[in-house]
């Protein structure tokens, strides 16, 4: 089997995570430095700030086959760029309202604050998200794009 093929037999949720460089990504690194363990279902895209996350990215991730999406940034008031995470929060709240219309369960999209010191919180975030998305089953509402 080629690496990159999804196993069809047993469902393993695929989670795409957008992490801000300064807090959430550093928290994910810390989880590694502390040798914590969490499920390998998550794939990280590093951005400078959670304020960079376009709600369109999240839809795109589902179109491309993701079963869940995480957006994580610095805690409120601690964004490296003053208020990027507040913008992210606003955009995500709006998106959450729209998700139902386009057939995506709200629980598949999660916004979280993870500081650079919160390796454990990051690991737990992945763990609970993977479990919840696993319980929801594979995301199949959108037709798969031809590769």
């Amino acid at each position: 089997m080629l690496i990159g093929d999804r196993k069809q037999q047993s469902y393993e949720p695929r989670i795409v995570a957008f992490l801000c460089n300064w807090c959430a990504y550093a928290g994910a690194d810390l989880a590694g430095t502390q040798r914590l363990s969490y499920p390998p279902n998550v794939r990280v895209i590093r951005l400078m700030c959670s304020g960079r996350v376009d709600p369109g990215f999240i839809i795109e991730a589902f179109l491309e086959g993701a079963d869940g999406v995480i957006v994580a940034g610095c805690h409120p008031g601690e964004c490296h760029y003053e208020h990027g995470n507040r913008l992210a929060e606003r955009r995500m709240t709006t998106l959450q309202h729209l998700l139902g219309f386009i057939g995506i369960e709200q629980a598949r999209v999660r916004l979280a604050w993870v500081s650079a010191a919160e390796g454990r919180k990051f690991a737990q975030l992945i763990e609970t998200t993977v479990e919840e998305v696993r319980a929801l089953g594979p995301f199949q509402q959108f037709p798969r794009r031809a590769p």
Partner: protein, 649 residues
């Protein structure tokens, strides 16, 4: 698109290779679209590892590189240098984090290798879409505007001027000196405040590189780090500085007597005046607000008649000057909470309730009583004084939640100086705790406490009741659990330090942040205490928060050294990873303008324009743009979408 990508996979000893099948990963990578070469190595960050990358770039004619190794926070610079030295633009390097975020957190199963492959694929997809970027070089104006002419501003100005750079020192009042000039003696050494400040004022005023603007305000700040344009508005002094010899002949001629601000209303001055004898510049000021000549009509010219050098000019007008500066230091100092704030202590009803700064004026040899402590109501020497510490400090309900840092110390000093002057006088000091954290401070307080006749009473004062020319102080002694009632001649409140007036307006103009208490916010409370949150603008002294003189001077010196660090470069070299506007697509809706945390975007003729020194590349503007007309270099939409495709499937 770059189609000659090289992928280099690091084993990191066994750190990666233990759980990731590096060989399978390499094979997978080699087959990815756009990948020309894939190779693995034991330690890519080592010299031989970097050499390997350089050689392959040359041999295989690679145009972009993906390094699959540890977190990009660790070795981005290392690998950027390596690829750059082999001729690949450093911004065409991508790092796939397969250690911290893969091999270290997952077990040695196929899924882990699978994830590593996805991360490499994502890196390759991004690397294929990277553009060569060049650092942005910006010119640097090596001059500084220091706002505030107290000890902080003077210190910063002197340090910077001594290093050879021009300084504009802007002071709102008629003279330099700030709060420190008002003080009598300083704790814990009891040095005379003027004696240590005056030489500094003189030095800064004579420094060939320092231009002093008194009676001046900064009304506008444009530009950004390295290139600010600062507008200084000069109020008229009505006395020609070059003409005034400081003889003071005008003063007896002036018929108008007004309370002196410098003496906190305890003394009087004329409408033409100099606030204190050591004032710098030593130039008289005509206070037109209190002058008989209101408006253009001159009905009294007695000062002008008395002025031999003919230095008085009733027609002076405000003027403005635009100054170019690479950096700005904000040293605007502090005020104290006004006595009118303390209704329960009744200053409005009793003149013998004063604040610490008024007591400083009573102690000062050049003060309204020439250093004799006399109470305001009847000018008698008080035989007893109650000092009330934490008046408004550490009182979140009725005042400020914070500690004002200096009151414990100056109250101890006041008690001691009073005790020296009136040895049989009685002192009661009401306090919550004694905070004496500086060098020699605790020893000083202990010395004061040991004096006979100085009583420290732990507890708060509830109210003050005037009674037969005295003040009855009602309070509690929380150590004894008893009510206390003492009769005193004078009450001195150690009022909380608060930000100086006008700081909000200045903060708005200079686009720096202020904290919940109204002080200027530092960029980081621990690691960047002298930088504001706006690059190129630095903070000095109590404008940032309460502190004593030594801490103020240290803070100011820190701000100056930051400025000098900035000026040690010929030009500013800025990261190129900032937002770029596609002018053909921009529709001028200005949504990006409103979300930018740095005011870095402005509209020019209906098209967004990014200020390259203000933009920090966070990307908040990009999702706000409906026309997809702008994005941060290095994190563009097409790159991220390609990563999503690589990772989601």
């Amino acid at each position: 698109m770059n189609n000659r990508v090289g992928v280099f996979i690091c084993h990191c000893g066994k750190n990666i290779a233990r759980t990731v099948d590096v060989e399978a990963l390499r094979k997978e990578a080699a087959g990815l679209p756009g990948v020309e070469w894939a190779e693995d190595d034991m330690y890519l960050c080592s010299d031989p590892g970097q050499q390997l990358i350089r050689e392959r770039i040359a041999e295989q004619n690679l145009d972009a590189v993906v390094v699959a190794a540890c977190s990009p926070t660790l070795h981005t610079t290392t690998f950027r240098r390596a690829v750059e030295s082999a001729g690949v633009n450093p911004f065409r390097l991508e790092i796939a984090n397969i250690r911290e975020q893969c091999s270290w957190v997952h077990p040695g199963t196929a899924e882990t290798t699978h994830k590593a492959a996805a991360l490499v694929r994502s890196g390759v997809e991004k690397a294929r879409r990277t553009q060569p970027l060049e650092p942005i070089h910006v010119g640097l104006q090596r001059a500084v505007v220091v706002i505030g002419g107290g000890v902080a501003g003077i210190q910063a100005a002197l340090d910077i001027a001594e290093a050879g750079y021009p300084v504009h020192l802007v002071e709102q009042g008629p003279n330099l000196g700030g709060r420190m000039a008002q003080l009598s003696e300083t704790f814990p050494t009891l040095d005379c405040s003027s004696c240590i400040l005056t030489p500094k004022m003189v030095e800064v005023s004579h420094h060939p590189l320092v231009t002093i603007h008194t009676l001046a305000e900064v009304t506008d700040v444009e530009g950004s780090i390295g290139n600010f344009q600062v507008r200084i508005r000069q109020q008229p002094r009505y006395v020609i500085a070059e003409g005034c010899t400081g003889c003071g002949d005008c003063v007896p001629a002036c018929p108008q007597v007004v309370p002196g601000e410098f003496d906190r209303g305890l003394g009087a001055r004329k409408a033409i005046y100099i606030p204190f004898p050591q004032a710098v510049p030593f130039t008289y000021t005509l206070d037109r607000e209190h002058c008989l000549n209101q408006g253009p009509l001159i009905i009294c010219d007695r000062c002008a008649q008395a002025c031999e050098p003919r230095a008085i000019d009733f027609d002076q007008q405000p003027s403005e000057e635009l100054v170019e500066a690479g950096a700005i230091v904000l040293a605007t100092g502090c005020d104290t909470l006004p006595l009118s704030h303390f209704r329960e202590y009744g200053h409005d009803r009793h003149p013998d309730v004063i604040d610490g700064l008024m007591f400083e004026r009573l102690l000062s040899a050049s003060g309204p009583t020439h250093g004799e402590i006399r109470r305001p109501s009847d000018h008698r020497v008080p035989k007893s004084i109650a000092f009330v510490q934490c008046a408004g400090s550490r009182d979140p309900e009725r005042g400020k939640a914070y500690c004002s840092q200096i009151c414990c110390m100056y109250t101890a000093k006041h008690a001691l100086l009073y005790h020296h002057a009136v040895p049989d006088g009685k002192v009661y000091i009401f306090y919550i705790d004694i905070r004496a954290g500086g060098k020699g401070y605790e020893e000083f307080v202990e010395r004061v406490r040991a004096e006979d006749g100085i009583n420290y009473i732990r507890g708060k004062v509830a109210k003050l009741i005037p009674k037969d020319g005295k003040l009855e102080v009602w309070g509690v002694d929380t150590l004894l659990g008893e009510q206390v009632k003492v009769e005193v001649d004078l009450v001195v409140l150690a009022t909380a330090l608060v930000p100086s007036q006008g700081i909000q307006e200045l903060a708005r103009v200079a686009r720096v942040a202020i904290d919940g208490d109204g002080f200027l916010s530092e960029a980081h409370p621990k690691l960047r205490p002298v930088e504001s949150q706006t690059r190129g603008i630095y903070l000095a002294g109590t404008a940032q928060g309460p502190r004593d003189i030594s801490a103020t001077v240290a803070h100011a010196a820190g701000a100056a050294s930051k400025v000098l660090g900035l000026f040690s470069h010929d030009e500013l070299v800025e990261e190129p990873t900032i937002a770029r506007v596609n002018e053909a697509l921009c529709r001028g809706c200005s949504f990006c303008v409103s979300v930018c945390p740095y005011d870095a975007i402005s509209l020019h003729e209906g098209t967004a324009h990014v200020n390259e020194t203000l933009c920090r590349g966070c990307g908040a503007c990009t999702p706000a743009c409906f026309a997809a007309a702008l994005g941060p270099r290095g994190f563009e939409d097409d790159q991220i979408l390609a990563q999503i495709r690589a990772l989601a499937c």
